[in-house]
Amino acid sequence: MKYIATLNDKTFTIEINREDRILCDGVERAVDFRLIDQQHVYSLLLDNASYEALVQEREGEYWVFVRGYLFAVRVEDERERRLREASGERHGPSGEVAIKAPMPGLIVAVLVQEGQPVRKGEKLVLLESMKMQNEIRAPRDGTVKAVRVKPGQSAEQNQVLVVLS
C-alpha cells in the first residue's frame, strides 16, 4: 500500500508492504511499531532508533507529538491524492468560518460588528474562563458575517460566537 504523507509543505511517499519494513521515499527502513497504552501512545523503533509519539486525529489530520515537537500530518493514498488534485480542492481556511468558544465561559466583550472587515489575528471576542480573559482572534482575513453573542452572556463550549465570510 502506497501513501503520501504531507507536513510543513513537504511530501513523503511511504510504501507499506510488510509488517517490519517500509519504503520511505524509496529507502528501506526497518520498523517495529506498537501501541503502548491502548489509546494514543505509540512506540516506534525505526532502524533501532526509539521514538515515542502521541498521535491524535484532529480535523482529518494526524497530530503527532514526538520528542517535544508537534506535527500536523495529512495522509492519503495515491488514488485519493489524484482525486483531490483533480477536483482542485484547496485545504485551508477559506469559505465561511464559524468561530466557536473553545471552552465554556463568560462573554466579556464583543469587539467587532456585522459587516466589519477583519484582518487575520484581529481580536473578535473576549471570553472569561479559568479566571483569565482570553482573546478569540480571527484565523484569517475576512468579513464578519454574523455576531452570535452579546457581552455578559455565558457561552457553552463550541457555541458559535462569530461567523466570518
Partner: protein, 500 residues
C-alpha cells in the same frame, strides 16, 4: 499539635497541605464545590464537605459555608492555601471568632500587607526603597491624573492582588480607561474587590522575592530568595532558587529588609516579600504576600525546610525550629508551572478529561500535582494543574533535569504549556540567566527549526497509524467537507506556519 485541619482550597495546593498534615499525624478535612466531587484533594482527605456550586463565589469564597464545614467536622484549624480566601483579613477574623486557628498571619498583618497600596506607604516609612506610584482607594479620574504625573509605561495593580490577576501594563493615557475597566473586572472576579493602584513600570526589571518565616514569639528568619522573572501576562511560569543575579552579600541585604518589614507589622507565619530588581541590581519593595506561595517548593528543595509543616507548627504556637544561621541553600531548584493552556494557540485555556497521565519521577524530581488520570479539567478555576520541581547540584544540572522530566511528562486529553517550557529551557538567554520580567512577551518566541529527520519520523508514524486504521484516507476525505472549527484551524495554521 492540631487534631484536625480543614483546607479551604482545592487543586495541587490542597493536596500539598493534606500531605503535610498527614506526615504530622493530623486529620484533614477537604471542602469541594459540586464539580470537584471527584477532585484529587477530596480523594486524599480524611473527610470532605460540599460547600456549593462550581463558581468560586458560591463555594470556595463562601466564608460561612467553609466555617460551617469546619464546625461540623470539628476542625481546630484552617489552612487557606493561596488564592481564594488566603489574603482576606475578614476570613482570618471569622476563623478567630469561631474559635478556629487560622494557619496564617494575624488579620491585622494581612490587612496591613494585603492592601498593597498601604504596604507601599509602610515600606516607605521604614526607609525601604519602593517603585514610584500611587496609593489605593483612588477613583478612575484620580488614577488618570496620577498616571499623567508618573509617566508611562505604567502598571495597574489590584490592591487586593497577587498572581498577576487584575494587573495591566498601560503605555499611554488613551489606553487607561479600557485597562482600568479590565483590571477592576479581573480583580473583582479574582478577589471580590476591585480597588487598584498604579506603579511605574521599571523596564528590564527582574522579580526576586524573599521567603520569610516568623513565629509567635518574635523570631523572624528568611529562607533566601526566589527568582520569578519568567512570567507571561504577570503570571509566573518558571521560578528558581537561588537567583542567578543574587550573590551572598545581596541576599543578606534583601533578607534583612524582608525581616525588618515583617517585624515592623508584627508578622507571624510564612510570608513573601517581593522585590523588583533593576538592571543595576538595585532592589525595590513592591509588595508582601501574606500567605504560602505557589513557588514555595524551590525554597524547600534548596533549604530542606518543609514550609507548610512549619506554617502549621507556627500556628500551633511553637517556636521556629531554625535560627537564621541554620538556613543554608544547597544546590539549585527550578519549578515549571504546568497549566492547562495551549502554547500553540495563544495560551488558550484547555478543558476536558485527562485520559492519559504519566508524571515524571526519578532522581531530583518532585511533582506537586492536583490531577490524576481520568479527572476532568473544568473552566471554573485557575488553569494550574501541577508543578514540576527539579533539584541539581548546579543550575545547569537542575535545568537539564527539568528538560528530562518534561520529556517524560505525558498528558493526553487536554493541551498543556509543556512545549512552551521546553522552548524556554532551550533558549540561550534563559540558560545564561539573562532575562527580565518582559523576556517571555518581548524577547522570546516559540519559533524554532524543526529537525528535518523528525519530520520524516512524524510522517512515518502518521502513515503507520493511518495504515492501521485501514480506511483512514477515505475517512479524511469524508471529513474534509464538513464545517471547520475556526479556532482549531487558527491554532493549527499558526503552528504549521511556525514550524514551516
Amino acid at each position: 499539635m492540631f487534631r484536625k485541619v480543614l483546607i479551604a482550597n482545592r487543586g495541587e495546593i490542597a493536596v500539598r497541605i493534606i500531605r503535610a498534615c498527614r506526615e504530622l499525624g493530623i486529620r484533614t478535612v477537604a471542602v469541594f464545590s459540586e464539580v470537584d466531587r471527584n477532585a484529587l484533594h477530596v480523594r486524599h482527605a480524611d473527610e470532605a464537605y460540599c460547600i456549593g456550586p462550581a463558581p468560586a463565589r458560591e463555594s470556595y469564597l463562601r466564608i460561612d459555608k467553609i466555617l460551617e464545614a469546619a464546625r461540623r467536622a470539628g476542625a481546630d484549624a484552617i489552612h487557606p492555601g493561596y488564592g481564594f480566601l488566603a489574603e482576606r483579613p475578614d476570613f482570618a477574623e471569622a476563623c478567630e471568632e469561631a474559635g478556629i486557628v487560622f494557619i496564617g498571619p494575624p488579620p491585622r498583618a494581612i490587612g496591613a500587607m494585603g492592601d498593597k497600596a498601604t504596604a507601599r506607604k509602610m515600606a516607605r516609612a521604614l526607609g525601604v526603597p519602593i517603585v514610584p506610584g500611587t496609593d489605593g482607594g483612588l477613583s478612575d479620574e484620580d488614577l488618570m491624573e496620577a498616571a499623567r504625573r508618573i509617566g508611562f509605561p505604567i502598571l495597574i495593580k489590584a490592591s487586593a492582588g497577587g498572581g498577576g490577576k487584575g494587573m495591566r501594563i498601560v503605555r499611554s493615557l488613551e489606553e487607561m480607561p479600557d485597562a482600568l475597566a479590565a483590571a477592576r473586572r479581573e480583580a473583582m472576579a479574582a478577589f471580590g474587590d476591585d480597588d487598584v493602584y498604579l506603579e511605574k513600570l521599571v523596564e528590564g526589571a527582574r522579580h526576586v522575592e524573599i521567603q520569610i518565616l516568623a513565629d509567635q514569639h518574635g523570631n523572624v528568619i528568611h529562607l533566601g530568595e526566589r527568582e520569578c522573572s519568567i512570567q507571561r501576562r504577570h503570571q509566573k511560569l518558571i521560578e528558581e532558587s537561588p537567583s542567578p543575579i543574587v550573590d551572598e552579600e545581596m541576599r543578606q541585604r534583601m533578607g534583612e529588609v524582608a525581616v525588618r518589614i515583617a517585624q515592623a507589622i508584627g508578622y507571624v507565619n510564612a510570608g513573601t516579600v517581593e522585590f523588583l530588581v533593576d538592571k543595576d541590581r538595585n532592589f525595590y519593595f513592591i509588595e508582601m504576600n501574606t500567605r504560602l506561595q505557589v513557588e514555595h517548593p524551590v525554597t524547600e528543595m534548596v533549604t530542606g525546610v518543609d514550609i507548610v509543616k512549619e506554617q502549621i507548627r507556627i500556628a500551633r504556637g511553637r517556636k521556629l525550629r531554625y535560627r537564621q544561621e541554620d538556613i543554608r541553600q544547597t544546590g539549585w531548584a527550578i519549578e515549571c508551572r504546568i497549566t492547562a493552556e495551549d502554547p500553540f494557540n495563544n495560551f488558550m485555556p484547555s478543558t476536558g478529561r485527562i485520559v492519559t497521565l504519566a508524571e515524571p519521577t526519578g532522581p531530583g524530581v518532585r511533582v506537586d500535582s492536583g490531577v490524576y488520570e481520568g479527572c476532568g479539567i473544568t473552566p471554573y478555576y485557575d488553569s494550574l494543574i501541577a508543578k514540576v520541581i527539579t533539584w541539581g547540584e548546579t543550575r545547569g544540572e537542575a535545568i537539564l533535569r527539568m528538560r528530562r522530566a518534561l520529556e517524560e511528562f505525558r498528558i493526553i486529553g487536554i493541551q498543556t504549556i509543556i512545549p512552551f517550557h521546553q522552548a524556554i529551557l532551550n533558549s540561550t538567554r534563559f540558560l545564561a540567566g539573562h532575562f527580565d520580567t518582559k523576556f517571555v512577551e518581548e524577547r522570546f518566541s516559540m519559533d524554532e527549526e524543526t529537525p528535518p529527520d523528525l519530520e520524516e519520523v512524524a510522517a512515518i508514524i502518521a502513515t503507520l497509524v493511518a495504515h492501521r486504521r485501514g480506511q483512514a484516507a477515505t475517512h479524511v476525505a469524508r471529513r474534509a467537507g464538513r464545517e471547520i472549527n475556526g479556532w482549531k484551524w487558527a491554532g493549527r495554521w499558526e503552528q504549521l506556519r511556525r514550524s514551516g
